[in-house]
């Protein structure tokens, strides 16, 4: 294992990370946005779980304009997160079943198609299932 505090043999001027480093480059900013989207996704799930018990007594709790607006914003962030996630899969996954590896673009396209198909399937179930209120 390497030393957590590398010791240098020569005196040097230490590196200080600028506090606004992520504002200095577009790609760093997009990375931060991608990370931030996870916060919205987690927040939506926590709020959703917190509201579930109230559904029994007050079914309108999930029809409030604020909740619907927040859900739409969270949905946009989640879609961005999911899109960037699947887009990276061509880089992450490496298969070479025979002589040549499966192209990254094919992996991305397959994942996107499966993602959309599963999403449409879930939407279809939700649209047809009796919600009880």
């Amino acid at each position: 294992m390497h030393s957590p505090h590398p010791v240098s043999r020569v005196p040097s001027y230490p590196w200080h990370m600028p506090s606004g480093w992520w504002l200095k480059k577009r790609t760093y900013m997009l990375y931060m946005v991608r990370e931030l989207t996870a916060v919205f996704a987690a927040l939506w799930v926590v709020l959703f779980l917190a509201m579930l018990p109230q559904l029994k007594t007050d079914p309108s709790v999930m029809r409030s304009p604020i909740w619907i607006l927040f859900s739409l914003i969270a949905l946009l962030f989640v879609l961005y997160h999911a899109f960037t996630w699947f887009n990276l899969m061509g880089t992450v996954l490496y298969f070479r079943p025979g002589k040549a590896p499966i192209p990254g673009k094919l992996i991305i396209a397959t994942m996107m198609v499966v993602w959309i198909a599963v999403s449409l399937f879930i939407i279809a179930i939700l649209m047809t299932a009796p919600l009880g209120y």
Partner: protein
């Protein structure tokens, strides 16, 4: 008409006279065939012979001349003045590293980490394999392709300079060292994976990476360290899951 010139803003740090790095501006003649490294050499030859910077091959192989050029990590031997002219050029030492003098950074941390990942083929039968056909550890072109791009790394450290995770967390092993560990892990002739995975498969290795991806963008040799790290994450996860399901299975 006067000969065209360019302005260079160069970071100077001359301890003990300078308490912190300062910027000094120089005017040099513009030559469209020059690279930033040539301009630095001109400054050294004609303005200030004390200007310090590293270089060796001048042809994108040795990986010594990496610096920040207008805020981007670049090999200065491959950064042509014509791509910046008529604007000025700002040259700084590689970001995320301590500065020893002027444009020279301390690379000791990287060298230690590189050594720790054992970037060489490991096997214990090199001397005992029978002489003749069996003594060769053969590899098909397809097997070479599994790691070829990762073997192009020239240890120039531009990826470390582009990585904000390394900038904030110095214990992170970093992109190039992990890419090289992955290169040998993927080599069909290598048997040292179990020695490397404890070094990279922890919170100071692959799991410190949050996939910013800039390491792969700035690499002058088109290596994709971000891919190496994510693939190593997948391999480690796979090892862990298989170990849970089949504890008797040898990796």
């Amino acid at each position: 008409m006067a000969d065209p010139t360019m302005t260079f803003a160069v970071t100077r740090y001359r301890p003990p006279d300078d308490r912190e790095p300062v910027t000094q501006t120089y005017t040099i003649p513009y030559n469209e065939d020059w690279v930033v490294l040539d301009a630095l050499q001109y400054i050294k030859d004609h303005h200030d012979g004390t200007l310090s910077f590293r270089w060796s091959c001048h042809m994108g192989i040795c990986g010594s001349c990496g610096m920040m050029v207008n805020g981007e990590p670049k090999l200065t031997c491959a950064a042509f003045l014509r791509d910046y002219y008529p604007h000025g050029v700002k040259v700084e030492p590689l970001a995320n590293f301590p500065v020893i003098r002027d444009l020279v950074v301390d690379i000791e941390d990287f060298m230690n980490k590189l050594q720790e990942v054992k970037p060489y083929i490991i096997r214990d039968d090199v001397d005992t394999a029978p002489i003749g056909k069996g003594h060769e550890f053969r590899q098909s072109p397809e097997e070479t392709e599994d790691f070829r791009q990762f073997s192009m790394c020239i240890n120039c450290m531009l990826c470390y300079s582009a990585c904000p995770v390394y900038g904030m967390e110095k214990s992170f092993i970093g992109p190039a060292a992990i890419a090289l560990a992955h290169r040998y892990n993927m080599d069909s002739r290598d048997k040292g994976r179990n020695l490397r995975m404890p070094v990279i498969g922890n919170s100071e290795g692959i799991w410190e990476c949050t996939f910013v991806g800039e390491c792969s963008v700035v690499c002058p040799k088109h290596v994709d360290p971000a891919a190496a790290i994510q693939r190593s994450k997948l391999a480690t996860t796979n090892d862990f899951m298989m170990g849970m399901v089949m504890p008797w299975r040898k990796r």
